[in-house]
């Protein structure tokens, strides 16, 4: 994935990170979970592939809680030219097999299949009614590589064995999953160009902190859902699924998807910054002054109380010398709601602490505007806040890769034409 060589820490990987039938077997040896079966009639599932919120568990406060384990497969279409109907049928059959085998939930399996600008290049024009631009660098201080597979499959479940088994079944190395036979696989239609994995949820980051980017003092709190030690994704700080759904044209019911891979460098964060500095930089200095955030932030309930952070971020930065990540990002709201739905998770891919930042939005332009708010260049140009120092959490991350995709509605998820009308 990078030219950084083989990590020193490959030996401490989780089963999902390793992948393959051996990892699946090892994982099942530790006890096979009882996984609910899926729908007899997959047509009864929601029309939106990204309709996950109702299928997710909720936390104590009532926020939708992301599934714990994730696999991302970057796929290349193996056929020449435009996809054939036979290939479409094969992809659809394979996905329906998974839907029959597993309940559409985080206790079962959730997935999406999206398509890149590179995929649509084989047609005469881009996807009808939706802009899916090539990825680009989104800050002067980043230099990402660009993902250009044809498709992106995202598998998510609370059970490691479920994402592993679903992956193996699609690759054709496993004939049945959850006692359901696969009617078809991706064999001959999709080849895997890259495989990425991750996790999110209380306890998992602490268990997986033996990686580059996190100091040996094991600083990640036991109950933290993410490596940086705070809870994220409160219901009140997310766009709704409606907000991120494409509302017209043949791809209505779909959404755009952005995936970046961000490496984290958390030695300064944990061993140099104080708790106050961390809260200032993640939320806002007012939250730090008032002790608003306890532990990982469960006490915040269903929103990060961002309305208690000064709204004029440049002015606040000028006075405080620091601005918070959520404080900056809340500037990208429209009608008082964020425009992107974050479904990000941590990663130890390559032996490095990282984050697969996956988000859904109606248009990639919503993501670009949100990321611009995060850059805080206006804050640094006009105040004591640096372009990365004291500027949210920019000091602690490097964006390594970016890719853009279209998630078609479920009815068009199998190798869609650019203009299905």
């Amino acid at each position: 994935m990078t030219d950084r060589g083989i990590s020193r820490r490959e030996f401490a990987k989780s089963a999902v990170a390793i992948g393959g039938t051996a990892a699946l077997a090892a994982c099942l040896d530790r006890g096979a979970p009882d996984v609910p079966e899926g729908a007899d009639d997959p047509a009864s599932l929601p029309a939106r592939q990204h309709a996950w919120n109702d299928a997710l568990a909720t936390d104590d406060a009532g926020n939708p809680r992301m599934a714990h384990h994730h696999v991302l497969l970057l796929l290349d279409y193996e056929g020449d030219g435009t996809p054939t109907d036979a290939d479409r049928g094969q992809v659809e059959d394979a996905l329906r097999s998974l839907e029959r085998a597993y309940e559409w939930s985080s206790d079962g399996l959730l997935f999406t299949l999206g398509y890149s600008p590179a995929y649509f290049d084989r047609f005469e024009a881009g996807p009808a009614g939706v802009e899916v631009p090539e990825p680009e660098a989104l800050a002067p201080f980043e230099d990402p590589a660009f993902d250009t597979p044809d498709a992106l499959l995202h598998l998510a479940s609370d059970h490691e064995s479920v994402v592993l088994a679903a992956e193996e079944a699609l690759k054709g190395t496993k004939e049945s999953v959850n006692d359901h036979e696969m009617a078809a696989t991706f064999e001959g239609v999709f080849g895997v160009a890259d495989r990425r994995t991750g996790f999110v949820g209380g306890g998992l980051p602490a268990e997986n902190q033996d990686v580059d980017g996190i100091p040996d003092s094991e600083p990640v709190p036991e109950d933290a859902p993410l490596f940086m030690g705070f809870k994220s994704g409160f219901e009140g700080n997310q766009a709704t699924e409606d907000r991120v759904t494409v509302d017209s044209g043949p791809f209505a019911g779909g959404a755009t998807q952005h995936l970046s891979f961000i490496r984290l460098h958390l030695q300064q964060w944990y061993e140099q910054d104080s708790r106050e500095q961390r809260v200032s930089k993640m939320f806002c200095p007012a939250h730090a002054d008032e002790g608003k955030v306890e532990g990982v932030g469960e006490n915040l309930g269903t929103d990060s109380a961002i309305d208690e952070c000064p709204e004029d971020v440049v002015e606040s930065g000028r006075r405080e010398g620091v601005v918070g990540h959520s404080q900056k990002l809340s500037r990208a709201r429209e009608d008082d709601s964020p425009t992107i739905l974050r479904r990000d998770f941590d990663s130890t891919d390559g032996g490095e602490a990282g984050l697969h930042f996956l988000s859904l939005q109606q248009s990639i332009a919503d993501f670009v505007a949100t990321k611009e708010a995060m850059n805080g260049t206006d804050v640094s140009e006009n105040s004591a806040v640096g372009q990365r120092t004291n500027n949210g959490i920019l000091q602690y991350m490097t964006v390594e890769r970016r890719g853009n995709y279209l998630l078609p509605p479920r009815s068009l998820r199998a190798l869609p034409p650019a203009d299905p009308a």
């Binding site: 020193r8 230099d143 580059d212 500095q277 010398g321 620091v322 260049t377 006009n382 640096g386 120092t389």
Partner: protein
């Protein structure tokens, strides 16, 4: 703990046993206790350390030099609080990157900063973005303590980001692109141990500063003597131990007709090290009218150095100027600077 580091530290424990008591110099001897009752201003630190050169290289419009020394304690600054960073057992060196303009030899404080990765045999040994930092003897640089894997050849890779500070005159077209540079760094603990190390038991804690180092290979950051700033010097004021020189330019190649320029050069006392990353407000009255009342913007000019300035729509030559420090410099501090420049004074010129 990863295997390699475990082996390295096991080796070290073995060595100290063989060496017996007393002869093994540990890092703690290089960080004497802090001065008690530190004054609220620049003071002479407990000690200074020499610096070794790790290498230098061109990166786009920039030159980058890497120096190293013993791991240091230092303070990061958030708002008006300075937070002490202690030396960890794992720290091997304090690494300093200095970025300068090869033409004017001016050291450039870039708010977007520098990222450093240390590699050995294709593996990343340590990686982080050093803090923008000021030190009495090293001036402005980017620094932090880094962890190495013992003696040997390392590659230091730096990415210097584009400047988003306003650039004036001959600098207008420069430093707008990020650039990368790498140097080979042959590290030997014995060479580090031979760097000078001087304590000041008699004078530590006194108001004052140790001198800026002069180096053959790298420039150090220094703002011009107030009297040598271009334009008409409006005065020099002191507050929270920072020195503020205000100058008024009625003419400059970057000004249009009818415009003047207010520049405030903020620097440390004694050594004139620039104080970057501040929020300043300025107001200008000329001919009985307020002609400017707004934020001053960080800017760079070959003759003015790093400063905070504003273009003012007036041809008045005898302005009265007010300057408020809204936030102190958010640069990290080496010992002797951590209690200075953390207040928010106001001045009039």
């Amino acid at each position: 703990m990863d295997r390699r580091r475990f082996l390295a530290s096991a080796g070290l424990a073995g060595a100290s046993l063989v060496a017996g008591c007393g002869s093994f110099q540990s890092q703690s001897t290089r960080a004497p206790p802090l001065v008690e009752n530190r004054p609220d201003g620049t003071y002479r630190p407990t000690h200074v350390e020499g610096m070794g050169m790790a290498g230098m290289a061109e990166a786009g419009d920039y030159m980058v030099g890497f120096g190293y020394s013993f791991p240091h304690r230092f303070w990061t600054v958030t708002g008006t609080d300075a937070e002490r960073v202690d030396i960890r057992d794992a720290d091997s060196v304090h690494l300093m990157a200095t970025v300068w303009d090869p033409e004017t030899e001016m050291v450039l404080p870039i708010s977007a900063g520098v990222s450093i990765a240390i590699e050995r045999d294709g593996e990343t040994v340590d990686e982080k973005s050093p803090w923008p930092m000021i030190s009495q003897n090293m001036g402005f640089h980017y620094g932090d303590n880094y962890e190495l894997d013992g003696d040997g050849l390392y590659t230091l890779k730096a990415r210097v980001n584009a400047m988003d500070e306003r650039r004036l005159g001959p600098f207008a077209e420069k430093f707008s692109e990020a650039a990368e540079a790498s140097v080979e760094f042959d590290f030997a603990q014995s060479a580090l141990d031979q760097l000078s190390y001087e304590e000041f038991p008699e004078t530590q804690g006194e108001r004052g500063a140790v001198d800026l180092m002069s180096m053959e290979m790298m420039p150090t950051s220094q703002t011009p003597v107030a009297g040598e700033l271009p334009g008409t010097l409006l005065g020099t004021k002191k507050g929270s131990d920072g020195v503020y020189a205000a100058t008024w330019l009625s003419e400059a190649d970057f000004l249009a007709d009818g415009e003047s320029y207010l520049a405030v050069s903020a620097r440390t006392p004694y050594n004139r090290v620039p104080l970057p990353m501040m929020s300043l407000d300025g107001s200008v009255e000329a001919g009985g009218e307020t002609v400017f009342d707004d934020a001053l913007t960080a800017a760079l000019h070959p003759d003015l150095g790093y400063h905070y300035g504003a273009v003012v729509e007036t041809t008045g030559t005898d302005p009265s100027v007010g300057v408020d420090v809204v936030a102190p410099p958010q640069v990290s501090r080496h010992e002797g600077y951590e209690t200075a420049f953390v207040g928010t004074p106001s001045f009039s010129f």
